[in-house]
Symmetry: C2
Subunit: 417 residues, 2 copies
């Protein structure tokens, strides 16, 4: 994979020019893209800024996020050839930092469940996950050092786990969702894919103008609460094994690890996610449904057909539960710095008919808390764990994620000294 | 003015066809528009549905809200000739109800402060207010029975008061802001302009699929708390006189009227509005600022130049205050059903250099509570009062607003019996 920080270091040292770095990425794309299918479109003649902390960094932009210079297709024929007037603020910000939005990455239609054509570069024959399939796959294949995704259920965290990359879903509202195709204004969150946690921390600190997101207190061992939500169906053995391996590695490196129970309001919040997503999705996609129902991808069409039965009182009740759970979410972190849990049920499912299951993501998306997928090294299909902190504690989440990532790498090399 | 309900009744009775009703509106526009300048564009050949509860109802759509069939200009040359692919969900919903989005209404550039070219049909030589200038003026001039506006500071409530029409800013999130040009995702709210409160209640109930918003418990006299926020500079005498007249009329009609003080957290929330609007506005308009700064309207450009100095810690502190105040806002309604306060400092200021002052709106926008402007009949320039209920209590706000509106009309005819 391409480490954003490693590329930045080579550019800063003069070993690479920004143009060289973009050329390197374009070569990787030329080589890998035919087998992966991560891109919806590519800029054939990118302008490469010479200045800025991200000069020379190529970025993939999920194709539900507006770009002025490239079409924005939403993964749907309804938006064939559509060119927004403006870049989404997150894209404009990346440009101002010197980055090059080099291509749009494949998305499931309107970031829902109908699979994109993308293949999982780390798990041949298995889904890359969704909905941010192209962004996860492009980073996993070493085609990009940074890609933007979006999450309404589990669309950043899950494909990151399936593809063996780092995925970051920051706190709700930390990155603007302006210029991103809305599915649910209560849930939609913009996120990042990178090779490592430090790469993501560096990018997120720059994108938000919050340098403290990229400051690490050296040697700080976090208090970790391990959560296996009892209200989700049981995870697969491989998923549980990865979680246990990560917890053991963190404990071995000095973290204080304990099990954490979730009060009942969080089970209710988990159940409330669907009504909120459905009720808001029906509204957000009203023009598409009313004017182009026949052209909607089949799973989305069937879902919207059914979702129209969610009434305002059902939605209002779900929103009350969500507010209550959000209000109480900080209490989960009274005695731990972060939660460690599964990012998905297990490895990427075989085949391309499904993007997998978001049941280990929906509660955390609803709570708006920062979530990070860390790959768990091992033989076989990629697996990951998910590190979660309280809302607004993105720095703590990144720091603990880096700790676990380091512990897992050391763990590979033998027990920590 | 054109009453939506009166038009609907004439259509339902067969006295008017939907086509006739649209022709009537087009005639009014042909007559009044040259002097008012309420429209950014008009559909030259509208398709008029024959069915639906709003069949025959022409709607004006503020030109920061996406429409597929008409350009969306944002009040800025940067968006000259821009055609979105989709209708905003609110527009698509109105179409599904049978309404005809007949034209885009003039807006200040990106819904900020640089005045639009619209004139106040009820106050020659005076501003119609902003930013939803065209929507307020079109309803005031009898050119439209319904128009959509948006409010981030006071952009629905204030122009409604200046133009002598009903303006409704519903609870935050009740109407989707999807497809509306974002200025501040924490504050932006979609609202309505109509001739009377009942017209707005009917439209809002249909648009939201919440029939209870249009149900009135006959004869229910509300408990009203009169608020003159001490942290706003003093209102003008005409504004205070209108507030007193409305309170007296409501009391005369049986309402229980008392004065209400605002706890200090609401003064802090009032002060926090600016940092939130500024910080989010800089992000929301990043592409426009980075790529087209020279083409931005001058007040907006100068404001964004300055707003860039709002740091993440200042924003975070403002958001903490906002959350605290929102959490405590329901306690304002422990002993009253609604608040009655000023919608603006007084009548529309003379001249066209300013759209007026939003200081009597910003707190309520930040709290996300439903707000309704009711015209206060009288000689001279239009004046209004603002009725406010707790968040999610839009039905209570509409019902109390209708009570006050009726009381004010009866008051004109002499003391209530």
């Amino acid at each position: 994979m391409l480490s954003l920080l490693a590329l930045c270091a080579r550019i800063a040292s003069g070993a690479l020019t920004p143009e060289d770095a973009i050329a390197l990425v374009r070569d990787a794309i030329a080589e890998c893209e035919p087998a992966v299918g991560a891109f919806a479109s590519l800029d054939p003649s990118p302008v490469v800024p010479r200045l800025g902390p991200l000069a020379g960094i190529a970025v993939g932009v999920k194709d539900v996020i507006d770009t002025a210079h490239l079409p924005t297709g939403m993964g749907s024929s309804i938006y064939d050839g559509w060119h927004p007037r403006a870049d989404a603020p997150a894209v404009a910000r990346l440009r101002a930092l010197g980055a090059v939005p080099l291509g749009k990455t494949a998305t499931t239609a309107f970031a829902f469940l109908d699979p994109a054509a993308t293949r999982n570069p780390r798990a041949p024959g298995h889904t890359p996950g969704g909905s941010s399939a192209g962004s996860a796959a492009a980073v996993a294949a070493g085609m990009l050092p940074l890609a933007l995704g979006t999450q309404t259920g589990g669309s950043v965290i899950r494909p990151a786990a399936y593809c063996g990359v780092v995925g970051v879903k920051p706190s709700f509202g930390l990155l603007p969702t302006v210029g991103m195709k809305c599915f649910s204004w209560t849930l939609d969150t913009l996120g990042l894919f990178t090779a490592g946690v430090a790469d993501a921390a560096y990018a997120l600190a720059l994108m938000t103008g919050r340098p403290d997101l990229d400051r690490v207190a050296a040697g700080h061992a976090p208090r970790i609460g391990v959560v296996v939500p009892p209200f989700c169906d049981a995870p697969e053995p491989e998923g549980m094994a990865a979680l246990r391996r990560a917890a053991a590695a963190a404990e071995g490196a000095g973290a204080i690890v304990s099990d954490l129970d979730l009060p009942n309001v969080f089970a209710e919040a988990f159940a409330a996610h669907g009504a909120i997503q459905d009720f808001e999705g029906v509204q957000a996609l009203r023009w598409e449904y009313d004017s182009h129902r026949g052209a909607l991808a089949p799973m989305l069409r069937a879902h919207l057909d059914a979702a129209r039965s969610v009434t305002p009182p059902v939605y209002d009740a779900a929103m009350r539960v969500a507010r209550e759970a959000r209000g109480r979410s900080s209490s989960l972190f009274d005695d731990v710095d972060v939660i460690l849990t599964l990012p998905a049920t297990g490895p990427a499912p075989a085949g391309y008919g499904s993007t997998g299951d978001s049941r280990f993501n929906r509660l955390w998306t609803l709570l708006g808390v920062p979530c990070i997928t860390i790959p768990v090294p091992g033989a076989g299909l990629p697996l990951g764990v998910q590190v979660i902190a309280g809302i607004g504690m993105d720095g703590a989440a990144l720091q603990a994620a880096r700790f676990v990532e380091t512990a897992l790498t050391a763990h590979l090399d033998g027990p920590p000294g």
